[in-house]
């Protein structure tokens, strides 16, 4: 095990996969000479050259389409979105071309592409740069959607995504790039897509959370431990395909569930997970499933408003207490 940042783990995953498979290449805005807006692709141009580390003009639909077309004929592109918010300019390419190609060609043309970059709330990036973008993609059959919370997951899941034969939406976070953690050295360490992980074992309630919200839920769990509430935390890691078995298994054990998500709550991931739990484990529940979500508002710039927009540790703790029918101590 080596200790490295989330950013370094992503960089290492790219480097290893590019060494392993000459068909893998990186393409996007500022990925080469500038070494990535968030330095995820640092050093790649020097190591692999401009043929495999391709700087593009600002043309998201164009270069995403180039990636998809190249993938149709056998290459394995990793397309970087400088921020995932820009992927909206390529949404048609991702949804209408990448996701449907295998199906509408009757299984003739699959699209092994990874589209990656940061998304979700960051630090005062305001309305157009802070969206929790996964919602736009996990609805679409044909796409896989990954949200890796730790350096180990960042590496293992990115490698699995690159090796996957389907389009994978891989959304990182500006707020996690500097987070450090242990990462296996084995270049063949991959984390299969579609496997959730229990981040913290507990007895009384299951909290389902990913990315920044997973860390916030961890803090809430530590505090509630002092109140005698034992919280289990499940991180789905892959949102599509979703590992509902692990989530349901945990809920069957704890009989209570709280789903936390940073994005706006209306028709969000929390709605889907809460529904899955209700459909699959209703008889196991001792309380209604609660959702703690971002407010249904665009992301404001002002620091205090931004803070109010995303779920706080306090809101998570309150929801956990409510499903446990615990009075505030």
């Amino acid at each position: 095990m080596a200790v490295m940042t989330y950013r370094e783990a992503l960089n290492l995953a790219l480097r290893e996969e590019m060494k392993r498979d000459p068909r893998v290449f990186v393409i996007g805005e500022e990925v080469g000479l500038y070494e990535g807006a968030y330095k995820v692709t640092q050093g790649l141009l020097k190591e692999f050259g401009p043929k495999r580390v391709v700087d593009t003009p600002i043309a998201e639909s164009g270069f995403t389409g180039v990636g998809i077309g190249a993938a149709m004929v056998g290459l394995r592109p990793v397309v970087e979105m400088m921020t995932f918010n820009f992927a909206l300019l390529a949404l048609d390419q991702i949804v209408n071309s990448a996701a449907k190609m295998y199906y509408m060609s009757g299984g003739q043309y699959n699209v092994p592409i990874v589209i990656r970059g940061p998304g979700g709330p960051a630090h005062q990036l305001a309305a157009q740069h802070s969206q929790s973008m996964e919602v736009y993609f996990y609805h679409v059959p044909g796409l896989k959607v990954v949200r890796p919370s730790t350096p180990m997951d960042a590496k293992g899941l990115l490698k699995a995504s690159i090796r996957d034969d389907n389009p994978v939406i891989f959304i990182e976070s500006e707020t996690l790039y500097a987070v450090k953690g242990e990462v296996p050295d084995d270049p063949d360490f991959v984390i299969p897509l579609g496997q959730a992980i229990v981040r913290r074992e507990g007895r009384d309630v299951t909290v389902i959370a990913y990315m920044g919200m997973m860390y916030r839920a961890m803090e809430a769990a530590e505090e509630l431990e002092k109140e005698g509430i034992s919280v289990e935390i499940v991180d789905p890691r892959t949102l599509r395909p979703m590992d509902t078995a692990t989530i349901i298994g945990s809920v069957r054990k704890t009989h209570r569930a709280v789903v936390v998500e940073a994005g706006a709550g209306f028709a969000g991931m929390g709605s889907e997970i809460a529904t899955e739990i209700t459909e699959e484990a209703f008889d196991d529940l001792d309380a209604p499933v609660e959702r703690v979500t971002g407010e249904n508002a665009p992301m404001p710039y002002a620091r205090n408003l931004e803070r109010a927009k995303t779920p706080s540790k306090e809101r998570i703790m309150e929801a956990i207490r409510r499903v446990c029918y615990a009075e505030r101590s």
Binding site: F25, F63, V66, G69, A70, Y102, G106
Partner: protein, 335 residues
């Protein structure tokens, strides 16, 4: 025009009987296929949208006549002709239109989504302009692998105002991609005429802006198309620079079967006048006059084409519907 001098002077080899037979047969096959598709549509055997290219056959036949089997072609939703000219089996193409299990895309794609990997036909795509970046990606992959193929991308004049047309032109010129961009300018994007859609109606001039050798060509003259595409392909294979060809053509039918007359946005007189440029009639006369083909040759080609399309319709009719389990297959490729 400066752009013309950039294209090589030497075109493809001169016409002989074999070539004349091929391009005439290809054009007639496309025509017959689509006439029969229109009949099947009227009978309810084909549903959804059906866009016919009747009148535009010279573009697909002329361009395909200079391509190698390992070259790629990709197109819009008006792609029956492009798929057939690239070598797709008309029986499986017709079965796809019928929504049957033996269709090229197993009945899951339909008229707008014909794909045939066995002949490097990368599909019919039905979001206007969206397949141009895909095509550029194919060109990118050819260069990446060090190949000498080209990728032919067909699109309509309706794609030109789209941002993706301009992104794809820029990227293909910037990265020197082996692209043959062929705009089938039939003068109407659905019901919107060129003049109502484009500030610059000479479409080939957009290529000039991006430094792409570009030319207009009479899209009703199969040999003219063959000549210009042949020169472009020859140059692109070696120089890796893209080409933009504006083939000026006309669709004799409506935008789709739901616009059969096409009379709201254009006059009957205009349509009748354009039919005088019918690419099949023009070439047949030329071939007879030049002695490339005899009347008997033409009759034999016609009979062969009719037989093949009758067979295609029978094949499609006999093919079963896809099994319902196929609803949930081909969504993800698993190893």
């Amino acid at each position: 025009m400066a752009q013309k001098t950039e294209l090589k002077k030497a075109g493809p080899p001169a016409v002989d009987a074999e070539l004349a037979r091929r391009v005439l047969a290809d054009m007639m096959l496309i025509r017959r296929f689509e006439e029969k598709a229109a009949e099947a549509y009227a009978l309810g055997k084909i549903g959804g949208f059906l866009h016919l290219s009747i009148g535009e056959e010279a573009v697909a036949a002329g361009a395909s006549s200079v391509l190698r089997p390992d070259d790629y072609a990709i197109s819009t939703y008006r792609e029956h002709g492009h798929a057939l000219a690239k070598g797709a089996d008309p029986r499986r193409a017709m079965a796809e239109l019928f929504g049957r299990r033996d269709g090229l895309s197993k009945g899951k794609g339909g008229s707008m989504h014909l794909f045939d990997k066995s002949v490097n036909f990368l599909g019919g795509h039905a979001i206007v302009g969206a397949h141009l970046p895909l095509a550029a990606g194919v060109g990118f992959a050819i260069n990446y692998e060090g190949g000498d193929q080209v990728c032919v991308c067909y699109f309509g004049d309706g794609a030109v105002p789209e941002g993706e047309f301009h992104e794809a032109m820029n990227l293909s010129a910037l990265w020197k991609l082996p692209m043959i961009w062929i705009c089938e300018n039939n003068r109407y994007a659905m019901g919107t005429s060129l003049e109502r859609a484009l500030a610059q109606t000479e479409i080939w001039k957009f290529g000039e802006v991006y430094g792409i050798p570009s030319e207009p060509v009479d899209g009703m003259d199969v040999l003219a198309v063959r000549d210009v595409v042949g020169r472009a392909v020859e140059r692109t294979r070696t120089d890796k620079t893209p080409a933009l060809i504006e083939a000026r053509t006309y669709r004799f039918r409506g935008h789709s079967m739901r616009d059969p007359a096409g009379a709201v946005y254009r006059t009957k007189e205009e349509v009748e006048r354009e039919k005088l440029r019918d690419p099949i009639s023009l070439f047949r006369e030329k071939a007879l006059k030049a002695g490339w083909l005899s009347e008997a040759d033409v009759r034999a080609i016609e009979k062969d084409v009719n037989d093949r399309i009758d067979d295609a319709v029978a094949f499609a009719d006999a093919s079963p519907e896809p099994p319902v389990e196929w609803l949930l297959t081909d969504i993800y490729k698993e190893d």
